[in-house]
Symmetry: C2
Subunit: 217 residues, 2 copies
Amino acid sequence: MKRNAKVSTAVIRRLPRYYRQLSELQETGVVRISSGALGKSMGLTASQIRQDLFCFGEFGQQGYGYKVDSLKEEIGEILGISRGHTLIVLGTGNLGRAIIQNFRFSANGFALLAAFDVDPVVVGSRIAGVPVRHVNGLEDFIAAHRVDVGLLTVPMAAAQQMGDRLMDAGVKGIWNFTNYELVCARPDVVLESVHFSDSLLTLSYLISQREDMEENP
Amino acid sequence: MKRNAKVSTAVIRRLPRYYRQLSELQETGVVRISSGALGKSMGLTASQIRQDLFCFGEFGQQGYGYKVDSLKEEIGEILGISRGHTLIVLGTGNLGRAIIQNFRFSANGFALLAAFDVDPVVVGSRIAGVPVRHVNGLEDFIAAHRVDVGLLTVPMAAAQQMGDRLMDAGVKGIWNFTNYELVCARPDVVLESVHFSDSLLTLSYLISQREDMEENP
DNA sequence: TAGATTGTTAATCGATTAACAATC
DNA sequence: TAGATTGTTAATCGATTAACAATC
């Protein structure tokens, strides 16, 4: 790795896309790829890709391009996939349960240690092998284990309170799936939110534009 | 509305956030807000907010600010919330089921008409009141009803095929929750993807940066 | 070698910020 | 009225694109 100084969020947000695209190329059996071809497959320019990678070092060979395997590996390293990150899930409602059962945490370098809930019916059980504990024991658990991230799938009304407890207990990041705009005062905690409704409303806007265009062409 | 000519995606992505923030202010009983205060609560500058709104018209009053109610209403209108959009869900696995049961479609101006699956066990049943039909009848259903959006929660391997069927059947947009990078050749169809792993990997990167900083301060 | 493609600097473009007259 | 805050244009900043020497 090279300069790294102040990588823009635009670049950071593209890194996972590169990683995903390279994984798909790898599965398809593609061994090498040029910045031009990679860009075309992702809707980016060759320049942009070379500029993005330039933030982190030199990963290609002149006249040849990039080896899919090793570029994927390098980007995975940059993303911290091999750092052994851990997380816990707060809230085992439909969404929490779905994520626990479906999401390939290990493919993203995360180990899911436990889930937490208040419902006595689920506390003590396991979901896809993951033990469900009572939220009362949250702080003790975090103190006893290294927990990097807390995933929030609690009801909106409980989001801020649970987020605060996670931050106070010392997690490094919060992955927020509630539709609540979490307030995070601590500069040492990273907040990443997945807002389904933001996504759907964006789609709604774009569709509405098309509808208008069809009316007044 | 005023000029509207070429609104950048950066602005479009902020519109749902404005809408969400204004909704929260409304619930808190806030009646008026200035661009400065709204910006502060969202981590934006006053200038940026005024510039964003300027794309669509004049919604405030000099010396006063914006009425929370009416600004929310206006932005909702821009987003197309009152257009009576409709959607169907493809795939009633854990994630599809969770979204059907939890997501407030109507709060975002969408009506969920039906879900589709191949599993004979669920076909014919209802999930949260939504009828589950067999995928074989997909095209007939879309031909018979107005379906604006197809939500994809099918297995990754089926994503492209189902996406193509939706596009061929004439939906205006696809809301993709699979981790597959859908290829959308049609310029008249809008593609919006929610990639959980992109989000987690971004978080992973940012956490890793903090970890490095703590090692070499 | 010749052709291809990178790494990297410079030029362009677009988005954000600043400024301020208009006006509530 | 005086103070506040908008709408809107101009200035700045940052991200994307272009260009090209280096080199595989």
